[in-house]
């Protein structure tokens, strides 16, 4: 039986943390990719960090814009000519309430196509305080190469902390 929504890989951060989460050798047999991420970084002071995404180890051709909330105000932002797609899928930082992790997803349609790659993401951080963040981001990688690898790093922090998880799924348009 063929399935529409398939598990590809799961990554769980162990003791000591990791600088990046990498999905390599991504099968080219799906239509879209989806990542769900529950993460906490070693940044401090803000209750939030976000995910920087790069594809195929490339550090050019990225841009994005987004909508966000801080717990008290809404804002919008844009980044152009970046080395990564920034501010995806909010995570908590290490000042957030203990044991609290972010909750987000990143959707990449038509990742094998020869067109530029669009990315859609949403995510939330949480903490027992006023300032917790929500992000909704639209991103672009101006590159016609099929995506074969994805790297996720904290935007500000240097480490994903223990118990952070990321899961990669393949979505198939036709059975």
């Amino acid at each position: 039986m063929a399935y529409t929504y398939s598990k590809i890989a799961t990554y769980t951060v162990g003791s000591g943390g990791v600088a990046s989460i990498n999905f390599l050798n991504i099968p080219q047999t799906y239509t879209d990719l989806k990542i769900v991420i529950s993460a906490r970084s070693n940044r401090t002071g803000t209750n939030v960090d976000t995910v920087k995404i790069t594809f195929n180890s490339s550090s050019s051709g990225y841009s994005n814009r987004g909508l966000g909330g801080t717990g008290s105000s809404a804002f919008s932002f844009t980044n152009v000519g970046s080395a990564s797609i920034e501010d995806n899928a909010a995570t908590t930082d290490n000042s957030a309430t203990a044991n609290t992790f972010g909750n987000g997803e990143i959707y990449i349609p038509n990742y094998t196509s020869s067109n530029n790659k669009s990315v859609s993401s949403e995510g939330v951080s949480e903490t027992n305080a006023t300032n917790a963040y929500q992000f909704m981001t639209a991103g672009l990688w101006s590159n016609s190469t099929p995506i074969t690898s994805i790297t996720l790093v904290p935007l500000v922090g240097t480490t994903w902390l223990q118990y952070s998880t990321a899961h990669l799924y393949g979505i198939k348009a036709e059975l």
Binding site: T10, Y11, T12, F23, A74, N103
Partner: protein
């Protein structure tokens, strides 16, 4: 036809996906479509064999009250809540002091003929005993001239695995034909 290995692929460090994939990640667990007005919809005895949960639903209410999620029948004032909201003219963000449930829709839509609000709720790592449970929800209603879109975050500050979820119409009831479906999302190797 080549066989597909069911090798467990979760590990630390960089992870490769060489083509050993397990199909079938999103599994329906339970669905409820209301035949009469109901204040609370309960999903109990949730299997612990998945990695994440997702609830999808359509709802309308007899009065415009908040819709909450409670985990494990815990109705104490412990749930953190934050929201990003648009009303068609303005965007704003708010936080709430801990409440008796995770707010997934701050204003349930008062029943208007044949119009229901939509909602999607995600709870990642719901069985993980090292984490509090962060709840992300996207919901909205449109009444052809008014309405809201909400992007809510909440936390159930407990490291206990989630075994029961109550969708609570806080001070009102869900109307007939409101419908909620619970899905389990698997991890690779499961």
């Amino acid at each position: 036809m080549a066989s597909i290995s069911l090798k467990y692929k979760s590990k630390q460090g960089s992870l490769t996906a060489p083509g050993d994939v397990d199909p079938g990640a999103m599994i329906p667990i339970a669905t409820t479509t209301l035949s009469t007005a109901t204040a609370t919809v309960t999903f109990s005895n949730i299997p612990q064999s998945y990695e994440h949960l997702q609830i999808r639903g359509i709802s309308a209410s007899t009065a415009s009250q908040a819709i909450l999620i409670r985990c494990n029948n815990d109705a104490t004032n412990i749930y953190y809540n934050h929201e990003l909201v648009g009303d068609g003219s303005n965007a704003s963000a708010n936080s709430r002091t801990p409440r008796t449930g995770a707010v997934i829709m701050p204003q349930g839509m008062s029943a208007t003929a044949n119009i229901f609000a939509g909602l999607v709720v995600d709870i990642l790592d719901y069985t993980n005993t090292n984490k509090y449970k962060t709840i992300r929800s996207l919901s909205g209603n449109d009444l052809n001239g008014s309405g809201y879109v909400w992007f809510n975050s909440s936390a159930f500050p407990s490291t206990s695995a989630v075994t029961q979820i109550d969708l609570v119409n806080n001070g009102s009831t869900f109307v007939q034909y409101s419908s909620f479906a619970l899905y389990g999302i698997k991890r690779a190797g499961a």
